[in-house]
């Protein structure tokens, strides 16, 4: 049995999967997303942005699609208490590993790591903006709405949320009123040049609630990515070695379009950072994917 030791400065990711999906008529977590599922896609995107664990909070007895083995799953103790209950469960679990967490719902197919990073930067002390000490919550305000399910939280808020729930205060607004929350406007978010370049319309918070929402989202092209191949892969497969552009929602799709197979001897480095060999690893607009031989060494 092995386990990972996270530094306590780590950031966790929490995906709330326990919603009723009543308007969709089918569980959102299981919705197909470019050959994967929406929940697998979201957990993958969140996992790319945080260095701590990704935690999925499910409803009691809820079935979940297959997830990356590293994803932790925690269950709400009781049904029907809304996102605050899931938030309390998720933050309590995350507090074992991390001081802060990015929290989101399952239904954000265009969530982008640049958005997550921009939100998490809101935890930095910023005296010019009146934050001499870091806030307890970073709450984006996008398209005129507060976005508590695409926001950052100190994990120590878990107990305060539990207290609020015990007092019958089960709406995120109650927490906002009860903690030091830093609001991030669209203008402040888009001051992040990476986010401004990759998601200028802040599609990251566009959720899908209905079948029509989902169909519209699904009809859009897969992310636009740059691919490169190195070593013997430069001459294997189709096309020139790159860089070149293609549309792919995950590594398997990008590899397949190049005539490559992620077979253990081939891995991919995304943006020169994470190295992955699993085809389900999600891609997003602006990614650069380098395919290379796993058999390195000399």
């Amino acid at each position: 049995m092995t386990y990972t030791v996270y530094s306590m400065s780590a950031v966790a990711g929490i995906v709330l999967a326990g919603g009723r999906s009543s308007r969709m008529g089918t569980p959102k977590a299981h919705l197909e997303w470019h050959g994967s599922t929406l929940l697998r896609h979201i957990t993958g995107v969140v996992g790319r942005a945080v260095d701590g664990p990704v935690i999925v909070v499910s409803a009691p007895g809820q079935s979940l699609p297959e997830l990356d083995p590293d994803v932790l799953v925690r269950s709400d103790p009781e049904k029907g208490r809304g996102p605050m209950q899931g938030l309390a469960v998720g933050l309590a679990a995350a507090a074992e590993h991390a001081e802060t967490a990015f929290v989101c719902s399952t239904d954000l197919p265009f969530l982008h790591t640049a958005f997550i990073n921009a939100v998490l930067r809101g935890f930095h002390a910023d005296p010019d903006a009146g934050w001499d000490t870091p806030p307890e919550m970073v709450l984006p305000i996008v398209h005129g709405f507060r976005q508590p399910l695409a926001a950052g939280y100190r994990t120590e808020l878990a107990s305060r949320i539990a207290d609020l729930l015990a007092g019958g205060h089960d709406r995120p607004g109650h927490l906002v009123a009860d903690c030091r929350a830093r609001m991030l406007t669209e203008q402040e978010l888009l001051a992040d040049r990476t986010l401004a370049a990759l998601d200028p319309q802040l599609r990251a918070v566009r959720n899908v609630n209905t079948v029509e929402d989902y169909q519209d989202a699904r009809a859009l092209p897969a992310p636009d990515v740059v691919v490169e191949r190195f070593g013997v892969l430069a001459t294997a497969g189709r096309g020139h070695r790159g860089p070149s552009r293609l549309q792919a929602a995950n590594l398997a799709s990008a590899a397949g379009q190049l005539g490559l197979t992620l077979n253990g001897h081939i891995v991919a480095a995304v943006n020169g950072d994470h190295i992955r060999g699993d085809g389900g690893w999600p891609l997003q607009d602006g990614d650069t994917v380098a395919f290379l031989s796993a058999d390195a060494g000399g």
């Binding site: 530094s7 001897h265 891995v267 480095a269 992955r276 290379l292 031989s293 058999d295 390195a296």
Partner: protein, 596 residues
């Protein structure tokens, strides 16, 4: 009866007078340490006197074969050279390949150990007819390849020789021993041979290796050969290890300008992808090998150089040199002088940074200057000018220069770092820190974990440590059997599959579990030897640069390796290896190691 694959004896030759003795190798020793690096470590533990100077008369230098040498198993024509390193003061073991391994084993010995010191430069010749010492004064100053050829010309084409170049004669602490153009490269074994006044060891033999189950060995060899043509070895066959260069640049682990950066903007000019089309002249391989990883490139002036990732990284980006002609010429120069390219490049890059910081008054030695690189190599090989200081390696040179230069001397235990930035490969960071040989990639192999796609390579953890232990164990067995590391990807269940190769050769009924235990014994035996010759807990550490300065990868994420994280990883390593918190074997571990 002696197990198949072995002769059950080592030949010990005192080169002072040519006297010999035979050291019996009992079956249990062979089974516990196999051959190659493992058996060599056992021999060193047995034959080294406490306090012996690595370059002195007392120091033994062991050429060790293995049970698989002489079998039809692909990549098995390899030998290990094992001694106390004049660079680190600790154990060093280096592998080389080809016909010397076959001819040496066919003398009827599992190992040949040289001790003593000849009065004048000498060739040592060992054959079925016995041992003789021949004057080699006329070979002085020759590159190893020329000396090798001269010996075969003089004594007959059936002789095979391992020789040193001028650097070995001049006791450069990272001089190599080479044969067929392949080097036992790391740790200064060429200086050990030079310290004995031996230019070359030549071998010729007619003995044959008995196989316990010949048909089974032939079937296994056929299967292994077939698998060696698969995707796991494609990289080595088609472009060689230089294929790493651009990939490592893309993932910010290409050491540049003495590890001040992890990417090199001019890397494409030195890449295999670009050079192969215009510079490649020959692809070849070692004896008994079906992979054929060796790629020889030519400069525009016609100089031919054996090219691997490590020599291009060390003589290119590490020194800031981007002209392929300069880098290829420097590689060829290292071959001719008999220099370990990694230590040469690392020491020169350190000196270039000293010059840039005003700590050394050698104004011509600048980052990016190919002519300066070549001049530095020449001066190192001849121990002239600044070369006399740089021939000592970066650790000793930094001790002389002082002024904080030790903080950026790129070594562990005195051995210069290979081409992996430990901040962006943190399983490798652990492997480099704790490995017995020093900063070494081949005895650890932990880069496999970093590149596996299963770990976050920037965030070292317990999982990274366990993966590093596993790769270190695998290396210990591969280096003792001996099989080429380039085959490692063809094995799905390595220890079990290796046991299945060893059993029909020897007649032993070996299991994967037993071989895994053997690996751990060999790793501990190395550590036990090091403890005898002066290892201290502080030796298991990385240079300050890697712990003080972060690098940024292309995504913008910072790659930092804090002292606390490295300490935690080392502590986990010690505990998992059965070592105490100081890195010393516990009683239980010592019992395991001393079973024989």
């Amino acid at each position: 009866m002696t197990p198949g694959g072995y002769f059950g004896r080592a030949l010990v030759v005192d080169v002072t007078d040519g006297s010999t003795s035979v050291l019996p190798l009992p079956d249990d020793v062979l089974r516990d340490y196999l051959g190659g690096v493992g058996l060599g470590t056992w021999l060193l533990n047995r034959l080294t006197h406490d306090g012996a100077d690595p370059l002195g008369t007392d120091a033994p230098l062991a050429f060790v074969f293995s049970p698989l040498v002489g079998t039809p198993l692909t990549t098995s024509a390899k030998f290990a050279v094992v001694a106390t390193s004049p660079l680190t003061g600790l154990l060093t073991d280096a592998l080389a390949s080809s016909h010397f391994a076959l001819a040496g084993k066919f003398t009827g010995h599992d190992a040949i150990v040289l001790t003593g010191k000849a009065d004048t430069l000498t060739s040592v010749l060992i054959s079925d007819d016995g041992v003789r010492l021949e004057d080699a004064a006329d070979l002085r100053g020759l590159p190893a390849a020329d000396a090798e050829e001269a010996v075969r010309e003089r004594y007959g084409r059936r002789w095979r020789a391992a020789a040193i170049g001028p650097a070995g004669e001049n006791l450069v602490r990272y001089a190599t021993i080479s044969h067929d153009g392949r080097h036992a490269g790391r740790g200064g074994l060429g200086a050990v041979l030079g310290g004995k006044n031996v230019k070359c060891l030549a071998v010729k033999g007619g003995a044959r290796v008995r196989l316990a189950d010949r048909d089974a060995v032939l079937a296994a060899a056929k299967d292994l050969r077939q698998r060696s043509f698969g995707p796991a070895t494609a990289k080595y066959r088609e472009l060689g290890t230089l294929a790493n260069l651009l990939a490592f640049n893309a993932i910010s682990t290409l050491p540049t300008r003495n590890f001040q950066a992890a990417t090199f903007a001019e890397a494409p000019a030195l890449s295999a992808e670009d050079l192969a089309g215009s510079r490649s002249t020959v692809k070849t391989g070692c004896a008994s090998c079906s992979i054929g990883c060796e790629h020889i490139y030519a400069t525009t002036k016609g100089t031919k150089a054996r090219v691997e990732y490590e020599n291009v990284f060390a003589l290119g980006p590490l020194c800031g040199v981007s002209d392929p002609d300069d880098v290829l010429e420097a590689s060829a120069r290292c071959d001719a002088l008999g220099l370990d390219t990694i230590s040469a490049g690392g020491t020169i890059a350190w000196a270039m940074e000293c010059v840039a910081n005003g700590l050394l008054d050698v104004p011509w030695l600048r980052f990016g200057d190919g002519a300066a690189l070549l001049r530095a190599l020449d001066e190192i090989g001849s121990r002239s000018g600044i070369g006399d200081l740089l021939a000592e390696g970066s650790r000793r040179a930094a001790d002389v220069v002082g002024q904080g230069s030790a903080s950026f001397a790129p070594h562990v235990k005195g051995m210069e770092m290979p081409g992996y930035d430990p901040r962006t490969m943190q399983a490798m960071a652990l492997g480099l820190a704790v490995n017995a040989r020093g900063a070494d990639h081949n005895r650890s192999g932990a880069y496999e974990a970093d590149l596996s796609g299963r770990l976050d390579r920037l965030n070292g953890s317990r999982d990274h440590v366990l993966a590093a232990i596993e790769t270190e164990d695998r290396a210990a067995v591969m280096d003792s059997l001996i099989l080429c590391k380039f085959l490692r990807g063809v094995f799905d269940d390595p220890f079990t599959e290796w046991a299945a190769l060893l059993s029909p050769v020897t007649g032993w009924s070996v299991t994967g579990t037993e071989l895994h235990a053997t690996a751990k014994r060999i790793v501990l035996a190395k550590r036990a030897f090091n403890r005898r010759v002066g290892w201290t807990p502080g030796d298991d550490w990385l240079p300050a640069r890697f712990l003080d300065d972060a690098v940024e990868v292309a995504s913008g994420r910072s790659a930092a390796l804090s002292p606390e994280r490295l300490r935690t990883m080392i502590d986990i390593y010690y505990a998992e290896r059965g070592l105490d918190p100081q890195g010393l074997p516990t009683h239980a571990a010592q019992r395991t190691e001393q079973r024989s």
